[in-house]
Symmetry: D2
Subunit: 304 residues, 4 copies
């Protein structure tokens, strides 16, 4: 396995040239374009790694699955999905139009920005600070990693340039999807996106889902039902508007972020974390997708 | 004339039953549904009135033509229309979708909310207070009425419920259409909408445009070119997404507001102010439109 | 006047370089890109001409106002506008999306393709041949020109390449907007677009509308009401999605076609025909628009 | 198993009251609203059945996966997906708008009507008759059932009322997605939708996919890759714009049709055919979905 991973990282570094590092915040564009790394964990406690698996980067959209789990724990499945749908939208992740043109007012799913901001607004807590701290604590528990924290330089950048997300927040408030304070929801959202992780952290998150919500120490933190919901949404909506094609090419639940990370889940077996900040046009790690595709073929990982 | 107006008011009170008074702010719904009044001014100093022409109400969207005039004075025609278009949008006045789906990022015209908020952001001034005071002073000069002021109860209501407008503001900021502070632009916008007027005030505004920007005391406040732009936009976009039909049925430049007012302009001749808070589905005074249609037929006022 | 026209044609030939001759049918692209001509008729029987005013070209979208007049004569205003709206759409002339996304199913107005195809379906006649012949006869009467005919080479091209229009036809049939046979409606539509005219023909059409539906021989062919409807729709929707800006810049009812023609109407006074096959991005004659703008400024023709 | 199926059919007949039988063609609405049946096949040759599993109905949209398999065999994966995408659209199955508003012109996926019509146009054959016969023969081979045929009364109904599909066909022709004759593609499409099946036929189709393209007699008709593509598209797009929710609730590849059928695939194990003509608002068998949801829970069939 170790050997296979090294081979795949080496092979796919080439393709990183065809992508582009995110640069909507100055801090983000400092990532090394040809960085590429992977970490895989299994249930026997094995760790397989290759390339830049220890490099830190911000989790970005991958945080959407973390907040979703906590929001369901806090509010129940029924409430959450009365405010946010479960359908792929067919539009880019930061699109606002469906909120207006669709007959249903709720965001299509929790993986697009509008849906994730709505989910962030549901986290319990007396103010934005307490809400976010609950998200961070939950994420620490899930990954069994107490060192996790926000990259505040990137958080400030997100908050300052996040006017389209702010627009969505007020739109959702107007439609009654967000019931509480919009700026609180945005603060939680911008902060959750700015949590720093590496491929190992993501592999821990992946293994937690692969084991249906049980940590490696055996603690059941979320129900199997919640884990199934999250894994299913990862397949149908996790890779932005390339999700359908990734389902065909890779065939395992994945979620990507514009920081360059992808978390992958092989049900019952493996947690996978990938890092590669060079992105395709949809916002997915271009090297990361290719590694996952190769890996899926070699090890026959597709669930379909 | 006086007699004609009385007759038309009496005749069209019936139709006010088919409309609905705006109620998105509690204060607005206190208007008497069957109120209806008109005031017409000509260049010989005659004043013709009928019905509830002295009743006070908030100017709402009619303020969009006032701010537009000042924004062009402040920034020049070229700058203003580099940020806002001149085309009817075919969508409701509060629609956000065209901002995203259109290849051009600028709002379609200054009469829809998105365009008007962009225009409000262009008013010169060191802060929201100074900006708005300049709008109010300009409006006082145009109407030669020093008593004009904001209805602060309604302003607060607009500001508190204005989340869709706030969403638009941040969207425009994100696209670089609004260059300054979004909250400042929104404060100007919500305040301008909350200025209290009556049918007489609107008739003064109408006569000012009928005379291509000259007040009754003979002062030329805006250029003829600016007056022409405003009158033309009133015809193509002034009556929300009923503008095309109103152009056919009435045929004079008009602008309506959800407070129940309509200002009409008979080029070179008359300024018309109408009040009738019962609105059709598009947001136009239902009695007001019918009075204007009858008046246009009786006096052959259509410019087409 | 003659001198002014010559000067304006000479001056504006330069700008034709910035446009593009229509080429969706091979036959159309044979037009000389720098051709430019104008013809103006007044009620004293004067004819003023300059440049390529005698060159033949196909009428294309300008035919939409001709069929509209006949369809109202055939069916009455109420029926026609129960199937087609009066509002500018804010979309390109060949757009189909509003048919689906709008709550009202009817095409926005008779000047966009969908609306014009619906209008063509309303012409009375036992088959496509009879229907079209009635359109052609009506157009001959209006322009007092018996020599008018179809350019069949272009008609065949329109019909063969007209799959988007065909798509619209079936869409309208599906929604009950077209009640008769779709292929008949399309045949009428493609043929009406292929009628050959020159700037003089268009000036005759313009003068007919300027005189509210009376020919120069004094025959009242349509009611004044119908003439007003057509002139108003020309202002709000006649120049594709540049209509709003043209209303500001030119200020008289105009209708353009991708063959390079524009018809202009100065109410009560002049009929104007312009030819210039080099088109702007919206599909309007680029030289033609500039000539009309200059002319409107020189002679103060704006109705606003 | 037999007992479980009987119990589930009995239990879920109640919910059929809440749906509606398709009635866009008179023939379709003759189905018994409370009919409900299921057939399950496994690799040991067992057949489990309950309720109206022998009732005949038209396959409708389920045929889309049959034509897709043949189109890939005929043209290769690369060609097919150069013309049709793999992404969920987020819109109803018969929506046309994305063809215009999306930057990519190709239909989002082969499961919406536009995509399926494009796929139908790719079937090899010298005319519509030969093309369709190849589809029917392929379907016979896959299901090992020589008796399959078209219900011609329903085919005629489809063809006569299919103007929105016809509109899509011409739109796709206009954009170069359909390369051949539009009417041929539509004839194939309308006929494939009108093939008569019962729950047993669908279970055979399901088992064929569960075994990655191998019939029960052991013949490998399509590659494993093609089978994986089809199963994946069933999960992401197979249940109209309820696919995302069905993936969560049921969790196995499914495809439904407005005739009331659903085919389900439990990879490597089972083929499932369900019949229940009472449909939910999205067009899925309402009883069928509930049976599959119960079955998935009881037997833990979800692939996630």
């Amino acid at each position: 396995m170790q050997e296979l991973l090294s081979k795949l990282v080496k092979k796919n570094i080439v393709i990183t040239k065809e992508g582009k590092v995110a640069d909507y915040i100055p801090e983000l564009d400092k990532a090394k374009k040809d960085a590429l790394g992977i970490c895989i964990l299994d249930n026997d406690g094995n760790i397989y790694t290759a390339g830049d698996w220890e490099t830190k980067f911000t989790i970005q959209s991958i945080s959407k699955i973390v907040t979703l789990m906590l929001a369901i724990l806090d509010n129940g499945e029924e409430y959450v999905f009365s405010k946010v749908g479960m359908e792929p939208s067919g539009d880019p992740f930061n699109s606002i139009r469906k909120l207006e043109t669709s007959s249903r007012k709720k965001p299509y799913n929790p993986m697009i920005n509008a849906g994730a901001i709505a989910v962030a607004s549901m986290i319990k807590g007396k103010d934005a600070r307490e809400k976010f701290n609950r998200v961070l604590d939950f994420f620490k528990k899930v990954t069994e990693d107490d060192s996790l924290d926000v990259n505040y330089k990137i958080y400030c950048g997100e908050s300052e340039t996040g006017n389209k997300n702010r627009a969505m927040g007020y739109f959702l408030k107007n439609d009654g999807i967000i019931e509480g304070n919009v700026e609180d929801a945005l603060e939680v959202y911008f902060k959750q996106c700015s949590i720093e992780v590496n491929a190992y952290t993501l592999a821990k998150l992946g293994l937690f889902l692969a084991n249906n919500g049980r940590t490696s120490s055996g603690e059941q933190i979320i129900t199997q039902k919640i884990a199934t919901i999250v894994k299913t949404l990862m397949v149908t909506c996790g890779m932005y508007d390339l999700s359908g094609e990734i389902a065909v090419r890779v065939g395992i639940p994945c979620k990507s972020g514009v920081g360059g990370g992808i978390v992958g889940v092989v049900p019952g077996k493996l947690g996978i974390g990938v890092y590669g900040p060079s992105l395709d046009k949809k916002g997915n790690s271009i090297g990361g997708i290719h590694i996952l595709e190769d890996l899926s073929k070699e090890l026959k990982l597709s669930i379909f």
